[in-house]
């Protein structure tokens, strides 16, 4: 007999993850499995450690002075917390989009080709092909194809953010981490980026972890949702569930209060 309930494939397992800045705990004891090929939204009030949590997953937390992490993160066979792993290769597998769009101060084209060169793609034609492809993917190609040499800093906020997504896609990551990617954008640009995120999941089956404090947005795009909450001054995971259940019939009363807008 065939089991109709296919087991959800989890791509990344996080166990008892804690992070502290100097003496202050930012979040504690987060245990969570990130489902493959889906969008996981992390919601919660500000200061609950959502963004700090994200930086642990690609080891960007290494660069923050005074920051110590404990716990376990497994990606396939790779133990992300192992200090000896090659973070360059890891960060190629796990792309990250920041709250404030941060294209490099160079041409639109070079924003994409320079990281490709760095990651060993020597063939210029191949790079040009990827540039066109990823700009198509993020819907920027028709807007910028005639000015690929223009400085990326002159793009609008939404265009900059889509360029940042494009240059990350160019490296073909397995997972995309997004830290409030729309919160610095105006509503129209925000809507465009949101649609883009959904299309990345639908067309290309990306696994996306998105941090947002916009509950409505989480509801529109997420397949799974996790609620972080500040307990004392330290973040904790309250509930993690499929979006349907999370928004309509949460197990935890705090989640209920939060999704109904009573708390947070």
């Amino acid at each position: 007999m065939i089991n109709e309930m296919t087991e959800i494939q989890s791509l990344m397992q996080i166990q008892q993850l804690s992070l502290r800045y100097q003496q202050k705990l930012a979040f504690q004891d987060i245990t969570l499995s990130i489902p493959q090929n889906s969008i996981t939204a992390i919601v919660g009030p500000s200061g609950c450690g959502k963004s700090s949590f994200l930086t642990c997953l690609n080891r960007l937390s290494d660069l923050i002075p005074g920051c110590t992490v404990s716990g376990h993160i497994q990606l396939g066979t790779l133990n992300i917390r192992n200090p000896k792993i090659n973070t360059t290769a890891l960060r190629r597998r796990i792309g990250m989009i920041f709250q404030k769009p941060n294209p490099f101060p160079m041409s639109i084209e070079k924003n994409i080709t320079f990281p490709l060169k760095e990651h060993g793609i020597k063939n210029a034609q191949e790079r040009d092909r990827i540039v066109e492809q990823v700009l198509q993917d993020v819907g920027l190609w028709s807007e910028v194809k005639d000015r690929l040499q223009a400085n990326a800093l002159n793009l609008s906020g939404g265009q900059k953010q889509r360029l940042c997504i494009a240059r990350t896609l160019a490296l073909q990551p397995e997972i995309l981490l997004m830290d409030e990617p729309c919160s610095a954008l105006d509503p129209i640009a925000s809507g465009i980026v949101e649609d883009l995120i959904i299309s990345l999941r639908q067309k290309y089956n990306y696994t996306i972890i998105i941090v947002t404090h916009n509950l409505a947005q989480a509801k529109r795009i997420a397949d799974y949702a996790a609620l972080f909450w500040v307990d004392g001054s330290c973040g904790r995971l309250i509930e993690f569930a499929p979006a349907e259940q999370f928004f309509n019939a949460p197990n935890h009363e705090l989640t209920q209060a939060y999704v109904n807008g009573i708390k947070g």
């Binding site: 920041f98 101060p105 160079m106 320079f114 490296l171």
Partner: protein, 258 residues
């Protein structure tokens, strides 16, 4: 500043009126007692020592600042910074002294006489290094963290990040630093005077002794009279004009950035 400029002009005017500007470039030699006022060898002297020192100090200073900002652990970086600041505060005569006792004999072993253009370049390099190193350090500190995090999050190598992101983003700051170090190199007197040999000649190799404009003034001012004295003021005027032009250039670069 205006007062000094006015004073220089007043003192330089007599000779400018009596022999004209052209004489300073076309006279046969520099021998003021024979009414011969060719400044060209000294101009070359200043140009060669300053250029050589800037060419050496700029890359060294930038590398030192990169080390300080991006490679050194925090404690070492701040100690290193203090050291560079200290280096900037050493009196130039002490540099000259060190150059005379240590550097010149070394160069003498390589190629006599030792007191030479090379000695001048090396001493000047050491003296202007702190200027460019500190300016570059401050410039790199201003590179937005967002670029660096973005680069790290894409797994870019630190070399690629430095070459493609940090240096281009710091271009105008580094340029300002270069202008400042050029100014310092041109104006430096005591140390170069002590190690350069001070023979009035256009140098034909880096081992040849040279005399810079500043050294010329310092050496001859004490006994110069009349037109000779006035001619020294002309070279002072020339130096000041170059420095003013450099200051204006630095200002323009800063403007461009804002």
């Amino acid at each position: 500043m205006v007062l000094i400029l006015g004073f220089l002009l007043r003192e330089a005017l007599p000779i400018l009126q009596s022999v004209g500007i052209k004489a300073f470039l076309t006279d046969k030699t520099w021998s003021p007692s024979q009414q011969s006022y060719n400044l060209v060898p000294m101009i070359w002297g200043t140009l060669f020592t300053a250029t050589g020192a800037v060419l050496l100090a700029t890359p060294l200073g930038i590398i030192s600042a990169l080390f300080c900002q991006y490679y050194a652990p925090k404690a070492i970086a701040s100690g290193y910074r203090r050291l560079i600041e200290l280096l900037a505060g050493i009196p130039s005569v002490v540099y000259g002294f060190w150059g005379l006792v240590v550097l010149v004999p070394l160069i003498n072993q390589l190629h006599p006489p030792g007191t030479s253009l090379l000695a001048g370049i090396l001493i000047l390099t050491l003296m202007i290094l702190p200027t460019i190193a500190l300016v570059a350090d401050a410039t790199f500190a201003e590179v937005p963290q967002a670029y660096l995090l973005g680069a790290a999050a894409m797994g870019l190598s630190s070399w690629g990040t430095i070459w493609q992101i940090i240096l281009p983003a710091s271009k105008s700051g580094l340029f300002t630093g270069m202008i400042l170090e050029i100014g310092r190199a041109i104006g430096e007197t005591m140390a170069v005077l002590m190690v350069c040999g001070n023979v009035v000649q256009t140098p034909d190799s880096i081992f040849a002794p040279v005399r810079t404009l500043t050294a010329n003034i310092a050496l001859e001012m004490a006994y110069a009279l009349d037109n000779h004295r006035s001619a020294l003021f002309v070279s002072g005027l020339l130096l000041l004009s170059v420095i003013i032009l450099l200051a204006i250039a630095a200002e323009l670069v800063k403007w461009d950035r804002v």
